[in-house]
């Protein structure tokens, strides 16, 4: 025979369980818009039954655990997707800036300035004695030289801003690694039995998700719910310990090292950091380098011809002058022809010093000017296979293709990210309709349990007060 008060106990458990259910629902609703939050669910189980006489009677309900609704497989997919997205977004952003620098195709680009420069020489070859033509050629040449200077300094600025951005990214990575290591510690100490620290896990998942966009990582679960984070095979986070990345900026370039092994090379794969490093290298090796080559060859070829010519003055010895300021010889290692190209002061001050003639005292002779104008058609670059125009257009074409690839990749990966987010949201997202329904359900169950209490109360009242 069970106790008279046994029913009260069952009702009490019912009240408590429904109340917990409502609390979990409240928590869900409160966090409906919290980034990284995973929906939670109170898992109600029936309490173990007891044997009374011939019967097995249930003893009510219990909240076994609060479950975190999350698909770990989707998280892993999302991380590798993020790593690609971070990589291509960095490239897209920076290459977009490089595109703006060149301003092609338009009338303001170097292509058009070069055309005007060569046309200036054509006009000079036809009118070598005309001072207006001379002045206009010098202006065109000056515009071209400043145009090349400007593109060079813009590209250099982009490289510098990439280096700054890489530095900030490394700091960002380190901060996140530090937080993950700390969360590891908190998770280990709050994990008891099968009661997982759901909200800490959410925080860590969100951090890992953000981190994976900055740099390619491997996540390795270890004991007590902790995770280790590897970058390039190195354990940056190991349990509650963390050792971050450092960024070395020196003359040779920038290098990412690991504080745990500062002398060894570290291979970064993917993520914003890798994208920045790659695009920086591309700008330096391709665009800046080719611009320097173009400027150096232009200076050299024009000067060589110009030195053999005679200017307008009657002085027979007046040859051997350079049109552009000459390149230093031997060329220093970090000398940039594109940064330094400039029409010589002598010619800027007196366009009469332009040497258009092949003979002394021959005002009407424009043969040297014509030879210089014909450099436009000459294959003098890329091992004498490309003209100035072709060489430059090749760069623009390469830039276009690379930037287009980055745009397309970002678009595709972004679409993939949306997909993954939607799928994770289907598991982990809070649906207000659902929570409201649950709330009502718990509310009614709570009222019913309360009803059971008052029914038993009435029964006991009858039993205790009205009998005897």
């Amino acid at each position: 025979m069970s106790s008279s008060f046994f029913g009260l106990n069952i009702a009490l458990k019912g009240l408590q369980a429904q109340q917990k259910g409502m609390e979990v629902t409240g928590h869900n609703i409160a966090n409906a818009n919290t980034e990284g939050y995973s929906r939670q669910q109170a898992v109600l189980v029936q309490d173990r039954s007891i044997e009374i006489g011939d019967l097995r009677l249930g003893t009510g309900v219990d909240v076994a655990t609060v479950r975190r609704m999350r698909d770990d497989f989707l998280d892993a997919q999302s991380q590798s997707n993020n790593t690609q997205l971070g990589f291509w977004e960095a490239k897209q952003d920076m290459l977009g800036q490089v595109e703006l620098t060149y301003m092609e195709p338009s009338d303001n680009g170097l292509a058009n300035m070069m055309t005007q420069f060569w046309d200036g020489w054509q006009e000079l070859s036809k009118n070598p004695e005309n001072s207006a033509v001379r002045v206009s050629l010098v202006q065109n040449a000056n515009a071209l030289a400043s145009g090349i200077n400007k593109v060079h300094s813009d590209l250099t600025n982009i490289v510098e801003s990439i280096e700054d951005s890489a530095g900030k990214t490394v700091q960002d990575i380190n901060t996140k690694l530090d937080q993950i290591a700390q969360l590891n510690g908190q998770i280990r100490s709050s994990q008891t039995g099968n009661q997982a620290p759901n909200d800490l896990l959410d925080k860590r998942t969100l951090l890992i998700d953000q981190l994976s966009q900055l740099v390619g990582i491997q996540v390795q679960p270890t004991e007590s719910g902790m995770v280790d984070i590897y970058v390039g095979g190195r354990p940056l986070v190991s349990g509650t310990d963390f050792q971050g990345l450092t960024l070395d900026r020196n003359d040779a370039g920038i290098e990412v090292k690991w504080a745990g092994a500062p002398t060894e090379d570290l291979t970064i794969s993917g993520g914003k950091l890798k994208g920045l490093l790659d695009v920086r290298q591309e700008i330096k090796d391709t665009y800046l380098n080719n611009l320097d080559t173009l400027a150096a060859v232009l200076i050299d070829k024009v000067n060589t011809l110009h030195r053999s010519g005679f200017d307008l003055t009657d002085d027979v010895d007046n040859t051997g002058n350079n049109f552009f300021e000459s390149l230093p010889s031997p060329t220093p290692d970090n000398y940039s022809a594109a940064a330094n190209i400039k029409v010589s002061d002598q010619i800027l001050n007196d366009p009469g010093k332009l040497a258009a003639a092949s003979l002394a005292d021959s005002a009407g002779d424009g043969s040297i000017a014509l030879e210089i104008a014909q450099l436009k058609q000459a294959a003098v670059l890329n091992g004498d296979t490309a003209t100035f125009d072709e060489f430059y257009t090749d760069d623009i074409s390469r830039l276009g293709v690379n930037a287009q690839e980055a745009n397309r990749m970002v678009e595709n990966i972004d679409a993939m990210k949306q997909q993954l987010q939607v799928r994770q949201e289907a598991v982990a997202g809070v649906s207000l309709d659902e929570e409201m329904t649950n709330l009502m359900q718990y509310q009614h169950a709570f009222s019913a349990a309360a009803k059971v209490v008052s029914a038993i109360d009435e029964m006991l009242n009858v039993l205790i007060n009205r009998m005897g």
Binding site: K126, E129, G400, A406
Partner: protein, 295 residues
């Protein structure tokens, strides 16, 4: 699949973003009138457009060169025409002066006219186009290329050939030098001889030497003229070809880089409709939830 409020929000925002992107691209295109504004829009199109722009600029330059050549050649031709007229007139005078039936004093008058013709030839030799002597070789500036002192005429120019490019790598000399026209033909010497012979009433010399020499000179000048004429025709042909090329390339470039305004405008309209539909759909789906219907 569970559908949550956030999912609807994410999807709606995403499609709104995509719509806005398309809208802004179309507006860019309409604003600039160009298909592409940066190389990554279409790298192949962009480099083709750059190539074509370069070619068009070249064509423009060669058109200018050809036009300049034509004016130089025409001017030279008309000067040479004057020279032939002077030689014709000299011949008439020589024939007249060689006649024995000439009245006393008439030969002196003829000699005076020959002297004037020499002056005129010198001034033709010194003619300039746009401030440049056309018969002085490279010495297009400074002192006159022809100077007459007494009965001798000296040439101070040189035999420089002014070469100009008329298409890539193709050069052409546009000038004839004063040496070719006036000195090699010996026209000044011949005329001086004629003048002296007239003054000395040496009719034999006129008939035996001078008239023949004048014909030789005429031949040489005419040869020079026909060369100029041939070059002039070559320039006319070149000009025709270049302007044909120019039209072709302009069409091609326009096909590459210019938008079809009607098409883009229609697309823009469509895109705006889609955007508005998306907006109103978003307004309808985001708003209500179960809460709106619970007491």
């Amino acid at each position: 699949m569970r559908v949550t409020n956030k999912m609807i929000k994410m999807n709606s925002l995403d499609s709104l973003q995509q719509n806005l992107n398309k809208l802004s691209r179309l507006q860019d295109q309409l604003g600039s009138g160009k298909n592409i504004s940066r190389p990554s829009d279409d790298p192949i199109l962009a480099t083709r457009a750059m190539d074509l722009n370069g070619t068009l600029a070249e064509i423009t330059q060669y058109t200018k060169n050809v036009d300049d050549n034509i004016s130089w050649l025409d001017f030279t031709d008309s000067s040479l025409n004057d020279v032939t007229n002077i030689i014709h007139r000299s011949k008439e005078l020589a024939v007249e002066g060689a006649s024995d039936a000439l009245a006393e004093g008439s030969r002196d008058a003829i000699a005076a006219e020959v002297d004037q013709l020499i002056e005129q030839l010198v001034s033709i030799g010194n003619s300039s186009l746009g401030g440049r002597y056309i018969f002085a070789g490279f010495k297009t500036k400074g002192d006159n290329p022809f100077q007459r002192t007494g009965d001798t005429v000296s040439y101070n120019g040189d035999s420089g050939k002014i070469r100009r490019e008329i298409s890539p790598g193709v050069e052409m000399a546009v000038n004839v030098t004063g040496k070719e026209v006036f000195m090699d033909s010996g026209i000044f010497d011949t005329l001086t001889e004629l003048k002296d012979a007239l003054n000395n009433a040496d009719t034999d010399k006129i008939t035996s030497d001078v008239i023949g020499q004048l014909e030789d000179s005429l031949d040489k000048v005419l040869t020079g003229r026909s060369e100029m004429g041939a070059k002039s025709r070559r320039m006319e042909l070149a000009k025709e070809r270049i302007s044909r090329d120019e039209i072709n390339f302009k069409n091609l470039l326009s096909q590459f880089q210019d938008i079809d305004v009607a098409e883009i405008a229609v697309e823009l309209q469509m895109q705006q409709n889609i955007y508005q539909t998306a907006l109103s759909a978003m307004a309808k789906t985001i708003q209500p939830s179960l809460i709106n219907f619970l007491r």
